[in-house]
Symmetry: C2
């Protein structure tokens, strides 16, 4: 991992800059301003080439915004403006471009490519069109983009021959980078829009290193930073030498403009034609000092930063800077409040406790202590009168007093209605506090504790929340220890007693993220009847997950676009030899008992 | 459109059966039973070949259920069972199958194909793998499937040479049907899973006719019937002769087993090898009487049937047969109630009016008349006490009495909480009543009138609802005329006065379904400031649409998977020269005024 010790003055050197910047989807003016600012800085630093992230001009991902013709035209016009502003340095700018219509995997013409534009000397010198269009998990690039057809395109930038690949292009093992290196590329420039999950940074580092070694070329890998709906782009841009050793690593979750002198190997034979960007020799200049790679941060710290950045950017990019949430005295609300306080500043967060007469006194007290610890505003609104009035209204129809649990679900939904009213009235965005485990097993009340415009912890397993609380408290006690110590209540429900989260979380993860089935889980040591019950809860609660707010993806498979399941789906193999059959309501009684999160 | 007059006895005839059946996604046993029943009937009718819909064994669409290995293995095992049950007749059964791993448009291996299995004489005689994998609008087949690589595969069935194409394969104009006909196919057998929208039946008929004429081959097009989440497969299977003339059309929205004698032309030269299903000559048999094509039904009738079937199947396939919904006295609730009554039987529908003290007396009366007209159960629960209690709770925090409109939003959300409590307690599934126009312009309260597990009218423009109400009343007055006659209230809101629905609906349709921009709409005669306001409302309310229940797709582009937009999206070209800029809250005040639907 040490920086390359070879002095760049011993041979040819390409001074490569990278712009690890944010973007806002659809904000062509704002994105262009960010691009121009980075171009100015890199030109001033004497860079030969500046690499931007994928779709830096338009934002990523675009989904069906690509289908709006006026958007494509405006992006192309804005690219022309950027080209006119380019100077002696070459810039590789990710954007969309119109290409001849092509049909690839279905009968729909596609005429928009995911491209990297090469700008220099006031001109657009050419475009590389992404070949590999990821179409799995959160990605749907085959939906709207036409694939490029020139994987071996080369670019002459002064004395260097460069290849450009875009994100997925890099991951094939025998794709554009290999074609480019075989054709004579001496360095690979790679714009990316690579979203974070817990295993991504290590995988990315290993992959880029492998590509560098395989091709004997330095690789410059530039990623976005910032949140876009459910995704957080964590930066962590990389420059590796031809041996795959680290020359530079940008920090995660922060913007960075970097500039690195990259040593090129002996000239390669160039097969085929390289598009000329320019052929000027480099200006005389002092070598840059060896770059400093940013330190890596721990896995849980990465998650914390992702939650904070994802929440901040969702609000900020949608024109909001304050939030309101319900505080129950439980760990979910506590961690959500802490994320919100870090994302927005504690002065912009309002916590509201809404106890019923059954709510334990110490939990109300903990909610107040939490608010004081974080420095957020705190209010109490009693639900007693509201739910009593609702029960009176329902009594006749329901033929008697509702039992305890529907009344708790009613309380959860009444809380949500109150929070939205506050949101409507005061302009704060409402945050939902539910976690992934609850969502997985159908334990998050629809319109209840998962109500809100954004759900920061939506993809966080329950057991992770305790680690995050301890991590957050290292900066100074904020989350009361009693909230962390209180054992979570795992409800007995229609389906029987559920196990503790320390058992539930790995089952859910192995089922949803690793694709394991009943047999795998039983072989892994889990109790078969228990696994059956959990898997059925997961499969039966898909309908609930369709109505959840967006939240920050942090695992390998988040609910939503990342893991798309039919609602109507009778596949229950684990139930086949199970007796008696589990009676599963479509719209099960949901809501937490008093004292539960 | 007349049935082919040529007597099949004049030349070679293939007796083709089609099974326009329903499926349940993931229900391998149930689907196999339906398949076996159809095989028995067709064999008894002396059919030479029986064509099933696409993925008849597994259900369609499967989304990421395809990624579960145990599901793929079980489907393949079940196919073997079906093969063992096959007799002298060839059956073309849609299912998934494992194929050698292939990478096509990204770096992910895919080893599952969308296949048609040919079963005969107790054996699986071969598999055709779908070539064209639609990956746009509601389709995401490139996500999980590997494309087939043999577009020109042929099948020898007795004296006939057949080609098999699957759904999208048919639509290319130069794809598998053309390759098969060029190689010698005399008839094209086409399993489909073709979901309904208003323009689909006519488009399908024209396309199939064109394929038949282009290739000079009869085409047998077999579609599913039934609802699956947001999609309704409307059947309408077709048999066309080699001139593209209609031999048979199945009814829409109903199951049908059909059997038709199809005349084959003179034998073609067969280029390449045809897989032998069998080479037996046909048994001696009497010709079938000429088939009767089902009558076409009107466009609005098609929509009505789609709503009823989609709602019924969503409930039935998820194990429910009763529903509860809020009745406001407006057209949305009235049409939703009528759809529910037709789908489930009026005895299984419960309407609940939840008036506030401000609700007009005549609307409550209309809700009651509607319930009586439809024959559904009717209840009244006053909101007065509940919202008054909630207002008292909120007063202190909000610094005064909430203004009128947030209290209406609170009322809408309180209604939703009450309906869900009834649903929890009594087991009826809760239906949301909102329509597409409201969803489009952000006028459906999140967790309010769009709250429910299913939203039958989600994709219905408001103006369509009046036509549907009149259509429904042709069967006998059910929806009170006063509900139909009452002018809809179009709310003045944060953004200024909106136009009536007769103007709003075409703007929304042209923007979302036709891809028109501000300039197109202004050229189409709409007022520019008005269009600006509507387009901005549409774009600003995407976040609301993410939390909506599923509903029945009936237009060319429904919200959801069909029309995927980023929530965070700054693209507002129509606002560029607009002054003053519109101030758009992310979480706008929503909810209807008294008297509005």
């Amino acid at each position: 991992m040490a920086a390359n010790e070879a002095s760049p003055s011993e041979g040819r050197v390409l001074r490569v800059a990278g712009a690890q910047i944010p973007n806002v989807v659809g904000d062509l003016e704002g994105n262009a301003e960010r691009i121009l600012a980075a171009m100015g800085k890199a030109e001033a630093a004497g860079a030969d080439v500046l690499v931007f992230p994928e779709l830096a001009l338009t934002g990523y991902p675009l989904a069906d915004l690509v289908q709006r013709e006026e958007f494509v035209a405006a992006a192309m016009a804005m690219l022309d403006e950027l080209a006119r502003s380019s100077g002696r340095m070459a810039s590789v700018v990710g954007t969309i471009s119109r290409v001849p219509a092509r049909r690839s995997w279905d009968v729909r013409d596609r005429d928009i490519a995911n491209s990297a534009a090469v700008l220099c000397d006031g001109h657009l010198r050419g475009l590389y069109h992404k070949i590999m269009l990821p179409n799995y998990e959160v990605y749907d690039e085959a939906r709207n983009f036409a694939p490029g057809s020139r994987p071996d395109a080369l670019w002459r930038i002064g004395e260097a021959i460069a290849g450009i690949s875009i994100c997925e292009d890099l991951w094939s093992g025998d794709g554009p980078p290999e074609a480019q290196a075989a054709a004579g590329a001496e360095i690979l420039l790679v714009p990316n829009a690579s979203p974070f999950h817990q295993e991504k940074p290590a995988g990315r580092r290993a992959l880029v290193s492998e590509v560098a070694r395989r091709n004997g070329t330095p690789v410059v890998y530039v990623n976005f930073v910032g949140g876009q709906d459910e995704l957080v782009f964590d930066g962590g841009s990389l420059v590796l030498d031809a041996e795959g050793e680290l020359l530079h690593r940008s920090p995660q979750f922060e913007t960075e403009d970097f500039c690195v002198d990259v040593a090129l190997g002996p000239p390669r034979r160039v097969a085929g034609r390289a598009t000329t960007v320019h052929t000027r020799p480099p200006r005389a200049r002092e070598p840059l000092p060896p770059p400093q790679a940013s330190a890596e941060i721990s896995a849980d710290e990465q998650v914390w930063h992702a939650l904070v950045l994802g929440t901040r950017d969702f609000l900020a990019k949608n024109g909001r800077n304050s939030a309101v949430l319900g505080l129950s005295g439980g760990i979910d609300a506590a961690v959500t409040a802490a994320v919100a306080a870090d994302a927005l500043g504690p002065e912009n967060v309002i916590g509201v406790a809404m106890p019923t007469p059954d709510s334990p006194e110490d939990e109300l007290r903990d909610a107040e202590l939490l608010s004081a610890g974080l420095g957020i505003e705190f209010h109490v609104i009693s639900l007693a009168g509201i739910t009593a009035a609702a029960r009176r209204g329902l009594d006749e129809l329901l033929g008697g007093a509702p039992d305890e649990r529907p009344s708790e679900a009613l309380a959860a939904r009444t809380r949500a209605a109150i929070l939205w009213t506050i949101s409507d009235q005061l302009g704060h965005l409402s945050l939902a506090t539910g976690n992934k485990t609850e969502l997985a097993v159908g334990n998050a009340a629809v319109y209840g504790d998962m109500a809100g415009v954004f759900a920061p912890l939506k993809d966080c397993p329950k057991t992770l929340l305790y680690r995050l609380a301890l991590l957050r408290n290292q900066r100074g006690p904020a989350i009361p220890q009693r909230i962390i110590d209180r054992p979570p209540t795992v409800r007995a429900d229609t389906y029987g007693e559920l196990p503790g989260y320390a058992v539930l979380d790995p089952i859910v993860e192995r089922y949803l993220e690793r694709g394991e089935a009943l047999n795998d889980l039983v072989a892994g040591g889990f109790d078969a009847p228990l696994v059956r019950r959990v898997l059925q809860l997961v499969d039966d609660s898909e309908f609930q997950r369709r109505q959840m707010p967006p939240g920050v993806k942090i695992t390998t498979r988040a609910f939503g676009q990342d893991l798309r399941m039919p609602i109507t789906n009778a596949w229950r193999p684990y139930a086949a030899d199970h007796e008696p059959p589990i009676e599963v309501p479509l719209n099960p009684v949901r809501g937490d008992p008093p004292g539960a999160e």
